[in-house]
């Protein structure tokens, strides 16, 4: 990581913390950098920037670095950090907000797999109202080779009847699609 002048960063980029506050209702200024969130984070070993540092970088306005990090995409949304934060900061909610901000800013070059999974998942529930796993797996395989990496699981999953061949389509499948679209519209208007 390059050298960062902290006082300068804070003056120039104070508005990122406000943007995050607006997206999440969480004020990162409450964080006093005890590091407890990172200490208990089960995914910290696989992150490029540990959770407490992400929070610090938000305080300092380091928007691009944070939105382009792998951390926000490998966060497993387990909320252990939130359960343990002595300042009530809710890092898990911040991770959610940062993922959404990265999507809005188009800064997801670093997260192709994760974005593909989320997109295919939302497509599936928009289409059927419920998840149609078999189709999701096949479509994901075209994008990321998912099933080829799990050839040992595919056959037993079928023989053990763990996958339905056909989707269940709801009467209200259309409603789910409308919710997704209407939410995107409303959030777009208010951005």
């Amino acid at each position: 990581m390059s050298v960062v002048n902290l006082s300068e960063q804070k003056l120039v980029n104070g508005q990122f913390a406000d943007e995050v506050l607006k997206h999440t209702g969480v004020n990162v200024r409450d964080c006093y950098q005890c590091g407890k969130c990172s200490a208990g984070c089960p995914i910290a070993f696989a992150m490029d920037i540990r959770p407490n540092r992400v929070i610090r970088m938000v305080q300092l306005g380091m928007k691009d670095e944070v939105l382009e990090s792998r951390t926000i995409w490998v966060c497993a949304t387990c909320s252990t950090c939130t359960a343990r934060c002595p300042r009530g900061v809710d890092p898990a909610r911040i991770m959610d907000g940062l993922r959404i901000m990265a999507l809005e800013a188009g800064k997801t070059a670093n997260a192709e797999n994760e974005v593909a999974v989320h997109k295919l998942f939302m497509d599936s529930i928009g289409k059927y109202g419920r998840l149609y796993e078999l189709e999701l797996f096949l479509r994901l395989t075209l994008k990321t080779g998912f099933l080829f990496k799990n050839t040992d699981l595919a056959l037993p999953m079928l023989t053990k009847g763990k996958l339905s061949f056909l989707p269940t389509k709801l009467k209200g499948a259309n409603e789910v699609k409308k919710i997704i679209e209407a939410a995107a519209r409303l959030e777009g208007e208010q951005a």
Partner: protein, 285 residues
């Protein structure tokens, strides 16, 4: 008790054995499950990772449907439970958000119902009822009760029990004649939400969980989460290959073991759906 039952997508596909055993256990305990008509997917981690409003509104449609029936919602899947209870909490605490949710889902939600996990509903029916229904004590089982994250975190919202050392499942199994082990990974994450994108991470976490369970003296693991169960059970072979380990711990849904204790025949419980078949462990039961 009568509930609006929200099975969630997994219980209709990968976790059919959870669905079956949940229904059996509830029936034995006098809990009536009325499936919410036309329920939709809760959105899992994808909805709230891509839009806050959709992340609340998608599960909220199910709450609105249950409210029409005047029933509290009960959800066996820990992940669905957390999405439903979060939507409920956020709408009850943020009227402006609730108005937006109602607008995008084109339905009303008055907040007159609540959300529970099946684990809670079962516990609330009382240990006495359970011991009365007991036909086959779970002798010889040393269970690591693995609650996972979503039932207990974040604790302000998902508060089935203590976030660090929950006991409610332990208490059930002790009442049903099993031993449960004291272990530190009860609510550790298995990273089930990353299983489609980051398999390497999930293999390490699965390894850690099975290692600590085995080191703590468990001969099986029980969970209320249909993400955790396959994430451990289906991945055992991959974990063993990657880490040179030798795990063969059966991973149960907690309701499977309860149903067994209540006398539901083994054959009906379809343990052959498990990747690690518990034949030997359950031979005497």
């Amino acid at each position: 008790m009568r509930y609006g039952y929200y099975p969630g997508c997994s219980l209709h596909s990968t976790a059919a054995e959870y669905e079956y055993s949940t229904r059996q256990v509830c029936e034995k305990l006098g809990i009536t499950l009325e499936e919410i008509p036309d329920w939709n997917c809760c959105g899992a981690s994808s909805a709230h990772s891509t839009s806050h409003l959709a992340g609340v509104a998608i599960p909220a449609r199910n709450l609105a449907l249950a409210e029409e029936k005047g029933l509290d919602v009960v959800a066996p899947c820990a992940a669905c439970y957390q999405r439903l209870v979060t939507a409920d909490y956020e709408m009850k605490h943020d009227p402006a958000l609730k108005a937006k949710v109602e607008q995008v889902m084109d339905r009303k939600f008055n907040g007159t119902i609540g959300v529970k996990s099946t684990l809670e509903a079962v516990v609330e029916s009382g240990l006495e009822k359970m011991t009365k229904a007991l036909q086959k004590p779970l002798k010889g089982l040393k269970i690591a009760c693995y609650y996972g994250c979503y039932l207990v975190k974040p604790p302000k919202i998902a508060h089935v029990d203590d976030p660090e050392n929950p006991m409610i499942m332990d208490n059930i199994f002790r009442a049903l004649g099993a031993e449960t082990v004291d272990w530190p990974y009860k609510t550790e994450c298995c990273s089930g939400s990353l299983v489609l994108s980051n398999t390497d991470i999930t293999l390490k976490l699965a390894r850690d969980i099975m290692q600590i369970a085995a080191d703590s003296g468990a001969n099986c693991i029980a969970t209320p989460c249909p993400l955790c169960q396959p994430n451990l059970d289906m991945r055992v072979a991959q974990v063993n290959k990657k880490y040179g380990t030798n795990f063969d711990l059966p991973i149960f849904y907690f309701t499977e073991l309860m149903a067994l204790a209540f006398g539901v025949p083994k054959a009906d419980l379809k343990f052959n759906k498990h990747f690690v078949e518990p034949t030997k462990l359950l031979a005497d039961l």
